[in-house]
């Protein structure tokens, strides 16, 4: 009976997926002007990095990657809370979430 030849999945596949998700997130940060969507793109990039941590962890059969992902999750939660609070305050002052409206420090 012929073996059903499904391609095997290894570290390279997960790293490629992680790179793809990271790229998409980075494009979101670079191209979008809506601060909320930029924030969400940053979360996407963090998740992509988590995926590569876990893939390396699986490849080396070492749990350190799991621990690091836990820390990244905690930092992401803190970042989202503080970042969104700043955004709410900015919106109260400017009535906008467009980053092009907040550029006094550049001029």
């Amino acid at each position: 009976m012929p073996e059903l030849s499904l391609p095997t999945v290894g570290l390279g596949h997960y790293l490629s997926l992680s790179a793809a998700l990271f790229t998409i997130g980075m494009l979101g940060v670079v191209f979008r002007r809506n601060a909320l969507i930029m924030f969400m793109s940053i979360e996407l990039m963090l998740t992509a990095v988590n995926l590569s941590f876990l893939a390396f962890s699986r490849a080396r059969l070492d749990h350190t990657g799991h621990v690091f992902v836990l820390f990244v999750l905690a930092v992401a939660a803190a970042e989202a809370a503080v970042g969104l609070a700043i955004l709410v305050e900015l919106f109260r002052k400017r009535d906008s979430v467009d980053v092009d409206d907040f550029r006094e420090l550049m001029e």
């Binding site: 979101g28 809506n34 621990v67």
Partner: protein, 189 residues
Amino acid sequence: MEALFFYLFATLAVLAALLTVTRRDAVTSAFWLISCFLCVAALFALLNAHFIAILQILLYAGAIMVLFLFVIMFLGKDKPKQGGGSRAMLAVGFLVILGLGATLARLLGKETAAFEAAPASFGAIERVSELLLSRYLFAFEMTGLLLTVAVIGAVHLARREAHGSRGAKARADAELTRLKARGGEGVDA
């Protein structure tokens, strides 16, 4: 079988991610991001990281995205603008695509060997927590401190000025009387 699930969830995750960054409406974006996180959580489970997969769903797709949705709906009217980034910004963007695309292509070329079989205990919550509470204990405690600081900071930033200027007090009083009046109407009706 594992490969099948990997390709299924990987495709869905990339699609959802693309939709996240291209939708104009932030609420639509947030919902696509939630589906992307769910797919990534499935991939975490495929990598034997069951505990992290559950955390991804509870924390990311649950708590953090609810916070996002709440803020998006709180901010409300989001007037979409035409145009956007400058020409320099566009160039930087394409450089980013090129650079990361090249990395991606290189990664695809090598390291395609399958993972070796994991022992049954790999990814068990006991193993992770042993490491977390021994070698990384200090970092773990600092994470708790960081979260406390973040909560205090967020509350302080987002709080309306409760005991600020007299103007703020007057505004608050006016708001209160208005609300009371509306409440009275509600009872009458």
